[in-house]
Symmetry: D2
Subunit: 382 residues, 4 copies
């Protein structure tokens, strides 16, 4: 195997005080497929510079603005090839567009855009220009998520009947946005976050996983959203019913006022031959119950796991792999796609890593939840 | 304390091959407050006689029909004082009516009746005649359920925002009703079970617990029910949204096609100061999370549990109490009410044990779920 | 099946303030095989009388002393047939002897006696007089304990290599015996409890389970015991190594200073084809791991459990059965033996219920632990 | 903060087919403090070259032998500064010695050396030459392990009474060493692994954690080891009793024939005011039980964790961190020490990362276990 040159990566957003920026950088670093070499790390030019220095970027590749970065990098021989976009939601569209227009592959955080129309535009540009456009629904990178997907594809639980999903957190149970909490402030501000709060911020993850694992496409939803914290401008809880193509039905609960739950993303999928259960906070286990058999605990890294699982598993069973490893799995798969794109061999994201198309479906989900709810929690088509 | 004479108890239904009859008998036996002394244990007279003999009843108090039992017991000096009714759903109404009319206290299994009108009649008769009319929502007898109720009443989790409940089982994942499975057959037969399947059979338990623990009253629901097993006549899955008096919202999932789940009755209640989580399959634990504090595991029988808890707890922490003990707690409380009624002191069921009124609310819930669903899963008032 | 007359049962000890007396009575009551009709419920005559009245015994069968009960019951036509002995340890021997001499079957709490010699005598008398002599190692009555035993007997885990057992509690972490805590006081007083503290009180349970489930006989042990609480006269922690007939080895940890553990009796048994894991605080689950297969959760009451399991299981899977039910299973089995003994058909305790012989082995274990420890924690033969 | 130049790292061992080599490389990569730039990756020169190419090392820094690497690197201006040694056990001593003699800092896998004398020599050289000598007891890098250590140091559980530790795996339940399984073969070969099997391979981890977390020093042990798999030359199970300085006692179970357990490293520590429980397979949780209080679940990344915990935690609570992150924490701390050593500021490993001294204590533990066992499982001083 010839060693392939690491991908030269730029980053927009993710400077001091951000959480997800360092996650993206660590994910890029873990498998050695990327070289982080340029950044416009904050919308505040001064902070952008400071952050770049702190991260050890070459001084001439620390930029005050993303426009500046795109402009100047384009002129370099050793220009970046791809950009990670880790800004608040409202900037995803203009920055992604700018990067794609300049010919860069893009790895964008979720929710992809504020509107379906924006998402459509970006997908169109990427397709037209043969650029990789990936959206980091990072939970799809967990080995046991891949195991579940492969088991369903292989018919291990039969035809799906019911899907129960939830993504609940408790950290917004109080009005942190009024107490100077930066992460809380932008997530609850419609100007920055868009039309939805928790549904966009975390509900899209749950929705993506439901589709990714089950292989099913929801056709309609009925959503009841609430703003529990006084003065909050966007919903912090959503109770959602789902109907899928075929007979399957489901429920998704999304909440950021669920005291006692840190990051509770859970899925249970019931078919006519068996069921699967996965919980992000114990990510290395998958509970499989076949009809009339005792439940089994399938573990990440065990010798009898599916090929799709072992491909994204770095360690033997009992050696926990976590959030960063799952995130890194996406970066690794996206990296492979980008390396293939260099050779003109492939112009789409690798089969498993979520793409702009998946991002667009998430945006449609967000819009549909809000539409359903604003009309009195009626059923709406997706 | 003067010892009180045990209550002379008759039973209708619950003969050979039944499950719940023996549960009621064991529950009555556990605390020594009842003397089981008469029975019409099957709608089949021959089986009724055989069952009575097997259980060691005096031969002259084994009856071929419940009408016969009511008639002949009424003439005895040592007549029964109360009747446990453990027949299929459709017989709850006529038998309960007959017993109340004859002046007997009644302990009736759930779902209480097939229609709201029937329930209304029974509650009216019991009230008029000062008779105890209890409905065995047995899960409300668990110590940790009482702990949860007491904590909420005491404000330990603040104002309730979200309730997530589910009661899922997997045993009807296949068409057992076509394979001569008696328990499956009557539960899926509209002639016997009424208009609803799993919602009536187990959903009413979940609904009762939601109300019992939270102290809240749902005002409207939106339900999406399915019949997944081919040829099944009643729903075997229901996805339900709830709205409560005030701002609280919730979800209830009810299923009997959830492969891998034996008897999964779970509740999570989130307030603005904390949350509670209880799972019937690990009934002696209650997870309590106060805002910004680590989650705690409160256990049944521990010295610092609430008075309402220790009152129904027989053993110290770490000595598991189960389904029978919870059932027996209801029998014990109902027994106290009956003993008080002897003295004319009290004519209502003890505060905690579910009454005909609670039974009626369960029937309304069932009717509302079916009404919502049949109209296209729209919101309906309760 | 002809209905058999309930066994007339007397009780010695177990009056007001006792814990285990009511457990025995409830266990006897649950299956309707016993009629509790006489008692000498305390060593304090006044308390004995009060306790008997409170429990509703006929006044002429409430006795001030156990000698009085034995004497007077013997003269009654409806004399008791069996006696439950639930006194502190030091009285087990004289009372059991007295009862056996008078021709009563005996159900004695553990630890059986204070010395091996005492145990020998009692076993000899019972054998000679064809009397049932049972010792309530109650944890052996759990369905999943029976499942484990049956699986090992059937070779499901192959030849046993390693056994890891523990019985830990935290309630004696402080010197409760100096604070008027009755249960603590007698358990830590050598005059009453004998030569050992936690090893006799709970260690014997763990030791019995190890033997009962595995079918193996330990041959030697090495024990290191401690008295952690200042002023305590008997050990409150013991770390023990075991060697079995054959190659198997094991460890038992016994503690009553394990803060955070309520009643933690756990067993893990590893063979060359699989392993089993059981925890008394989640008694309805048994984890089974076959070589190179995912772990399975076997549940009490499930259709595919062993015949030995379903025989002692009252409820379907998911309906928790607890401590009282397990205790009642022993009472039920002992009751069957006693009923058979009436007919002269059988003179030994039913296969599964622990007998005086098992009680004796427990006493030998206690003596061996103390002997090992007092000699510097050397290996001693059992 | 000035950015510090990454440490130029070489590696010996860890080529194709190795497991732990890639773990070290990923751990070094995760935080960006190292630049992996030279390697002698196998004792087989050809495989060494191939492995180096596959990993993308510059061709002139891929070496056929470690001696060659040390010799040639020493002459480079950009010579490596530190060496990771990830060979089988028997090579740890000669290679570490060679590296230290050449003036390189060393990060050596465990068990440190085959004999205490070897360990002594290496510690002496490192001290004399002011070189960092670290041993990768990687489990000490978990945030919740640091939390436990900090809580004990702060007195949160009071004086320690009992420590229960275990490290069990099931993967050597069959004679894999006779089936061409490379990892099994060398671990069970005394020529390569030394005098001990599972005790050296994994028992040393458990032993280190016991000391690391508790701050206590064991004074004597009694060990009973077994070779369960036919033909195996080194022990695959060990049951060990411990006594500590002061009154505390403990047990360690080490096994590689524990079917059903993947990588079960567990610790429970009981003091007179509380207890702690940690399980490597659920590494982000720590159960804390204070006297007479409900147990609490402390989670990694939560705002109220100790400063020592948050320092090694990359993500908020609910975002699982795993084995690699814990390993990387050691590399990060060792990296800081090395960077400080450049400045002559500090010549010892950072407070928390295990050093040659800790490695030596592990070797003494291994020797003591084997000595105790070979003398008939008697107590021996450590």
């Amino acid at each position: 195997m010839a060693v392939r040159e690491p991908i030269r990566l730029g980053m927009i957003g993710g400077g001091q005080g951000a959480f997800i920026g360092e996650v993206h950088r660590a994910a890029a670093r873990l498998d050695g497929k990327y070289l982080f070499c340029a950044g416009a790390l904050s919308s505040n030019p001064k902070k952008s510079i400071e952050s770049g220095k702190q991260l050890g970027l070459d001084e001439d590749r620390i930029y005050e603005t993303y426009e500046d970065m795109i402009l100047k990098e384009s002129k370099r021989e050793d220009s970046i090839e791809a950009v990670s976009i880790v800004t608040p939601n409202n900037l995803h569209f203009p920055i992604t567009k700018c990067c794609l227009d300049a010919g860069y592959h893009v790895i964008c955080d979720k929710p992809f855009t504020l509107t379906r129309n924006e998402a459509d535009q970006l997908v169109e540009i990427a397709n037209r220009k043969n650029l990789i456009l990936a959206v980091t629904y990072n939970y799809s990178g967990y080995p046991m998520v891949r195991q579940a997907k492969a088991m369903i594809k292989d018919g291990d639980i039969g035809n799906i009947r019911v899907i129960q999903a939830e993504y609940a957190q408790g950290w917004l149970s109080e009005p942190l946005e009024r107490e100077g909490h930066k992460q809380a402030a932008w997530r609850t501000d419609p100007e920055i976050a868009g039309i939805a709060g928790c549904v966009a911020d975390i509900g899209t993850h749950a929705y993506h996983l439901v589709c990714f694992i089950s292989g099913l496409m929801p056709t309609s939803i009925c959503a009841d959203v609430s703003k529990f914290v006084e003065g909050r401008k966007l919903e912090d809880n959503a109770n959602i019913l789902l109907r899928f193509d075929g007979d399957a039905t489901g429920m998704i609960w999304v909440s950021q006022v669920a005291i006692g739950i840190s990051n509770g993303l859970k899925l249970r999928i019931f078919g006519d031959k068996g069921s699967l259960e996965w919980n992000q906070e114990s990510p290395n286990e998958l509970i499989f119950s076949a009809l009339n058999e005792p439940s089994q605990k399938i573990t990440s890294g065990s010798p009898n796991s599916k090929i799709e699982t072992s491909r994204v598993s770095r360690l033997p069973s009992g050696h926990p792999e976590g959030y960063l490893e799952a995130f890194a799995n996406l970066y690794s798969e996206i990296g492979d796609s980008i390396m293939n794109a260099r050779l003109g061999q492939l112009t789409e994201t690798a089969a498993s890593a979520p793409s702009g198309y998946d991002g667009k479906r998430g945006v449609i989900f967000v819009e549909s939840v809000i539409r359903s709810s604003s009309r009195g929690s009626v059923w709406v088509n997706l």
